[in-house]
């Protein structure tokens, strides 16, 4: 069964009489247990899509099924989901501990299990040092970890994360990403995330969808979408004794001791290297520069 089936969904907004199409005829299937990334520039429709999935917005056309059921007719599905963003806020006057307790009650976590579950999250997300502090006094990193703890309080089957590491220090962001992977592995949670950090998406997501002005432009595994747009990659080699003319005949660009060549994805690097060695060249250093998701993102927006 699919975790999420987005079927021909359209959503528009009106602003001072002008119509803005946030989503246009969007169809995406997300498998159970998948970490699925939604990419796109600002205004692409990423957050609108998440809001349609969690019921904060009603699509104008099409429908969304979560675990085979339409949200409009089965609101109880929301209890199996959780939804947070980097900008999530809680009541300023409550401590982190009280916030988690409140959400335990709201999601009907059995009383006997509450303490154990909160303790588990405290330990996993290393949030023990600020559990008694009021929400307003927490730093950005502490808030995001608390938000993530809240998002896991009901052991969701579907987790929607909108920019989960926005504004975090790198060390905290790494911990948060690790936790996201752990959650999927431990509970087989389906995770749908949006992020502006391409390396994060590359690291976390099994598949991605690229949205542009509300339309689906591309979908597939990170590797697939990249190779669909870039059929070559670059190899950079430093050699001790470069001879310009023979190297150029071999297809290399020569700049000082550094030579570069564009290779096709299925081309064998070892073959290129062995030709150099046979030609009597001494290899000092080598770097393979494959196109990143960031390169893909930039190319898609052109």
């Amino acid at each position: 069964m699919l975790a999420v089936k987005i079927n021909k969904v359209s959503k528009y907004f009106k602003n001072n009489g002008a119509r803005f199409d946030a989503l246009k005829n969007l169809s995406i299937n997300i498998q159970k247990g998948e970490i699925f990334g939604v990419l796109g520039a600002n205004g692409a429709g990423k957050t609108t899509l998440l809001n349609c999935i969690n019921g904060m917005l009603i699509p104008d056309k099409g429908n969304i099924k979560i675990f085979g059921k339409e949200l409009a007719k089965n609101r109880k599905i929301l209890e199996k989901m959780n939804s947070v963003s980097g900008e999530t806020r809680f009541h300023w006057n409550l401590s982190a501990n009280q916030i988690l307790n409140f959400y335990c009650m709201l999601y009907k976590v059995p009383k006997a299990e509450r303490e154990k579950r909160i303790k588990g999250l405290i330990s996993d997300l290393e949030i023990s040092e600020f559990m008694d502090k009021k929400f307003t006094t927490l730093s950005t990193g502490q808030r995001v970890r608390l938000v993530l703890a809240k998002s896991l309080i009901n052991h969701p089957k579907l987790l929607l994360l909108d920019e989960p590491t926005l504004g975090l220090d790198p060390d905290i962001a790494i911990k948060v990403r690790k936790k996201i992977c752990d959650v999927r592995d431990k509970y087989n949670t389906t995770i749908l995330l949006t992020s502006h950090y391409m390396h994060e998406v590359e690291q976390l997501c099994d598949r991605i969808a690229f949205l542009h002005k509300g339309q689906l432009i591309d979908i597939g595994s990170v590797k697939d979408v990249k190779t669909s747009k870039f059929n070559t990659y670059k190899i950079i080699i430093d050699i001790k004794n470069p001879k310009k003319a023979p190297l150029q005949r071999m297809g290399f660009k020569v700049r000082g001791k550094q030579i570069t060549k564009q290779l096709k994805h299925d081309q064998d690097i070892s073959k290129v290297l062995s030709e150099l060695v046979k030609g009597g060249y001494k290899i000092i250093d080598m770097e393979v520069k494959k196109p990143s998701l960031e390169d893909y993102f930039v190319k898609m927006l052109k």
Partner: protein, 258 residues
């Protein structure tokens, strides 16, 4: 209806209240000082007319009670918006009805506590409390009138946006203005009389105005208030549900809650 969600919200609301001395003082300060002021005035006015003095005193108490029982719920909703925590509540799967019921229960509990204190103060100034059952009936009718008003205000707030938060503390004033609190309905021009007749608060105040002279609460007048409130409730509840649905279509709910 899922009671665990209502219970969770009540837990959070009373927890936030208990953690803010300022809010506790604020919610007690105005109703209690106002009752004291009117109590002192009644004491002075007794020399002219005991009935009028007692009428003014008890009407003021129920005016404050009406305001508290409506505004406490509305302000709690405003706080969810101001703290930007409303979004998290709504995505937890809470139903709009569960949400409003929790807020109404909160306001009923907190305003009843304050009403008890205000009635005690009026007693100190010589006001003789009417029989318990009719009094409880009047309190229930007042709560119902305030509740239907509260739901209407939430619906308008969701529909129009956070700039209209002021309705929470000002809308009742308009209702009171049209409900002839201290004077006969006939004081109004004809068109205002027509409006007054269909407002539930008019009949609550009418009951209270007649209390000192009749010596008991007029059940027929309370019935009238209750029937009007129920009719209002039958209109505002579907309107409230409709507004939530509409705001999910227009994106207004996301704008309001984040």
């Amino acid at each position: 209806m899922r009671f665990h969600k209502i219970k969770a919200l009540l837990y959070r609301d009373f927890l936030t209240l208990s953690k803010s001395k300022q809010r506790i003082i604020e919610s007690l300060f105005f109703p209690l000082t106002s009752t004291l002021i009117w109590g002192l005035f009644a004491n002075y006015f007794k020399q002219f007319s005991v009935e009028t003095a007692m009428m003014l005193l008890i009407i003021n108490v129920f005016w404050s009670f009406s305001y508290l029982s409506q505004s406490a719920a509305n302000l709690q909703i405003n706080m969810d918006v101001w703290s930007r925590s409303l979004y998290q509540l709504l995505v937890s799967g809470i139903h709009e009805l569960e949400y409003i019921i929790a807020r109404i229960l909160y306001s009923v509990i907190s305003s009843l506590i304050i009403l008890g204190s205000m009635l005690y103060i009026t007693h100190l100034f010589g006001f003789q409390l009417p029989a318990l059952l009719p009094l409880l009936y009047l309190i229930a009718a007042t709560l119902l009138a305030s509740t239907s008003l509260c739901i209407l205000i939430v619906a308008l707030f969701v529909l129009l946006g956070r700039e209209y938060a002021f309705l929470s503390w000002s809308f009742l004033q308009l209702i009171i203005l049209l409900s002839a609190p201290f004077f006969p309905i006939k004081t109004y021009p004809v068109w205002m009389q027509k409006v007054a007749y269909v407002l539930p608060h008019t009949w609550i105040f009418e009951t209270l105005k007649r209390l000192p002279t009749e010596g008991a609460l007029n059940i027929n007048l309370i019935n009238r208030s209750l029937i009007i409130s129920m009719a209002v409730l039958c209109i505002v509840l579907p309107f409230y549900i409709y507004v939530f649905k509409k705001s999910k279509k227009s994106g207004q709910l996301v704008r309001l809650s984040t």
